[in-house]
């Protein structure tokens, strides 16, 4: 059994009993990266020297009897849109190819205080805009289950690295499905927390009203441990919520007797593939056996989610990405005649096509004469979508459906067809628009490709989401399968 097949709690036990050292964990990560990263290309930047140094210092601390929390000494990968002091953070863009952050994101600081060791920075779609990790300026990432398939996106590097056993856990970010969709495609567990649950300070902003950082892991329990470490109010993010953080791991009781599940008919209807639908129906049988009940409900505005999302997310992006002007940091074009010319050349040379497409859409939707028809209209539809969720949660504990309509698609299959690519996020986007938490857990395979079950909860009720996900996971074997690389 490979070291990273153990769950976090067991690795912690092994460390605690001194059967392994922190250095062994870090060695395992870099060894595995050397073995398989040439094939899957999950990492953009490694931090090997500092990681080994930190591991050595931590082993010295262990010798002095100073190992404490469950995350102590654990290697982790960080998506490359989360800033890390002194470790290049590129957002997979030419714009930030040489950007060397001068502070740590709050989540990075919290993890370091909990004792994790950053192994490196993970590939993603450029500025998190994409669903396949193909828009990265640096490299494509390949799905460990099938190297001809995408790992999903935008947190495709994070998902692939965990699935391939390069790191036991990673952080991703999710604006319209960017944690849950790659988790589903790579057969791992990924949570998008409630909006405001985790500080966004140091997450390079894409769409500020939708973005959330979340954990990507092999098991639900590991996921709960990581969320525990990164959740909470942060002075540096005024949209982080002043809501107490419960003990998530304690809530993994395995008991879901009497749980009321809502299954939106829109999540099993038109546009959702048979494999995904069947896997969810099978999963519901498992949950029924465990004592839960389910009923079909409607989220009537689901079909408007994708259009609403692309207008709002692109509008926010066009504003957020205005900061990349070639003046204070990042790429600067050469031979500009004047300031406007400098801006235009820098941005045209520094951004890739998908980023430009969204900046253009957002600028259009916010521009004079079109604001009411597009931006404001989308904000109003967002209200309706959120109300759909509020209504269902008056009677039910969780909402369940597939994470994605299909398993991982082929590399290159959708890259020239933006609308079809966007439609891939139809089941994850409404969750961001409503701001509620959602998790993807492995629930089956189709032609050797993993499928994900999406469990959606009430605002700040990650505890119930985890409890259901964990009960399902314990009753099934999907999470124990590993890709052959």
């Amino acid at each position: 059994m490979a070291l990273f097949d153990y769950k976090l709690k067991d690795l912690h036990e092994l460390l605690h009993k001194k059967e392994i050292a922190v250095s062994d964990l870090v060695d395992e990560s870099y060894k595995r990266i050397k073995e398989v990263d040439g094939k899957i290309q999950a990492f953009i930047t490694l931090d090997e020297e500092r990681a080994r140094e930190r591991a050595k210092n931590m082993d010295d601390a262990v010798a002095r009897g100073e190992d404490s929390g469950v995350l102590f000494g654990m290697p982790i990968g960080i998506k490359d849109n989360i800033v890390t002091k002194g470790l290049r953070t590129t957002c997979a863009s030419k714009m930030l190819e040489n950007f060397d952050p001068i502070y740590d994101a709050t989540v990075v600081e919290k993890l370091r205080n909990a004792g994790t060791i950053t192994i490196g920075k993970l590939n993603m779609d450029e500025f998190a805009m994409g669903s396949s990790t193909e828009t990265s300026y640096f490299q494509k990432t390949y799905n460990p289950w099938n190297l001809e398939r995408v790992p999903g996106g935008s947190s495709g590097g994070s998902a692939a690295a965990v699935a391939a056993g390069e790191v036991p856990f990673a952080l991703g970010s999710d604006t319209g499905g960017s944690i849950r969709q790659p988790a589903a495609f790579c057969g791992i567990v990924g949570l998008k927390p409630t909006y405001g649950r985790v500080s966004r300070f140091g997450l390079v902003a894409f769409a500020s009203s939708l973005d959330q950082i979340g954990p990507m892991t092999k098991t639900v329990e590991d996921n709960a441990y990581l969320l525990q470490a990164i959740a909470g109010l942060d002075q540096n993010d005024s949209t982080s919520a002043n809501v107490p953080v419960p003990n998530y791991v304690e809530q993994l009781t395995g008991d879901i007797k009497g749980l009321k599940i809502a299954v939106p008919k829109e999540y099993l209807g038109e546009g959702v593939g048979e494999a995904a639908r069947n896997a969810v129906l099978e999963a519901l049988k498992v949950l029924e056996k465990l004592g839960a009940t389910w009923e079909e409900v409607s989220l009537p505005h689901s079909k408007y989610g994708v259009a609403t999302y692309y207008l709002l997310a692109s509008s926010e992006a066009s504003s957020n990405l205005a900061r990349f002007d070639g003046i204070r940091y990042g790429y600067r074009a050469k031979d500009a005649q004047n300031l406007i010319d400098l801006y235009k050349k820098t941005r045209s040379e520094g951004f890739g096509d998908e980023v430009k497409r969204r900046i253009m859409l957002g600028t259009f939707a916010l521009s004079s004469g079109y604001y009411d028809a597009y931006y404001k209209k989308a904000q109003q539809v967002r209200t309706l979508i959120k109300k759909d969720f509020d209504d269902v949660f008056k009677k039910y504990d969780v909402i369940i459906g597939p994470t994605t309509p299909t398993p991982a698609f082929k590399i290159g299959e959708l890259i020239d067809d933006p609308l079809t690519m966007y439609a891939n996020d139809i089941l994850t986007i409404p969750v961001n628009l409503a701001g509620v938490p959602g998790i993807s857990v492995p629930c089956g395979f189709h032609n050797g490709l993993p499928l994900g079950l999406q469990i959606i909860g009430k605002h700040f009720d990650e505890g119930t989401v985890y409890r259901v996900a964990h009960a399902f996971e314990q009753a099934t074997d999907y999470h124990k399968q590993k890709p052959q690389l």
């Binding site: 040489n98 060397d100 001068i102 502070y103 909006y195 405001g196 009203s209 002075q235 005024s238 949209t239 919520a241 505005h301 079909k303 408007y304 994708v306 259009a307 609403t308 692309y310 066009s318 205005a322 003046i327 204070r328 940091y329 990042g330 790429y331 600067r332 005649q337 004047n338 300031l339 406007i340 400098l342 235009k344 050349k345 941005r347 045209s348 951004f351 430009k356 497409r357 900046i359 253009m360 859409l361 600028t363 259009f364 521009s367 597009y374 404001k376 209209k377 989308a378 904000q379 109003q380 539809v381 967002r382 209200t383 309706l384 959120k386 933006p418 609308l419 628009l433 701001g435 605002h459």
Partner: protein, 96 residues
């Protein structure tokens, strides 16, 4: 009928401080037109009495104590600046 013309796309590109070749302009006009046409399905919904949502959490202004703090050291701030001299960021001329 197309929802957006090449001239409009060129105008939006200027607002967004992006420049495109003729060929790119054609491509973006075509793609933006398709996306905007798709987005117009929202017009099926009557939203005349619906309040817009800009933010999902019920929060108002978030205040903190106004305590003076030291800023970042200048060398650190300039570390990522593409062109600087004597502690200042240098840019091309801004006046004709």
């Amino acid at each position: 009928m197309s929802r957006i013309s090449k001239e409009q796309v060129a105008h939006v590109a200027h607002l967004a401080r992006l420049s495109f070749s003729e060929e790119e302009l054609e491509k973006f006009t075509h793609q933006l037109d398709a996306i905007i046409t798709y987005a117009e399905q929202l017009n099926e919904l009557d939203t005349s009495n619906v309040k817009p949502t800009s933010h999902v959490l019920d929060m108002k202004n978030v205040m903190r104590e106004d305590v003076p703090e030291k800023g970042l050291p200048r060398e650190e701030v300039l570390k990522n600046a593409p062109d600087h001299q004597d502690g200042l960021i240098r840019v091309p001329s801004i006046l004709e």
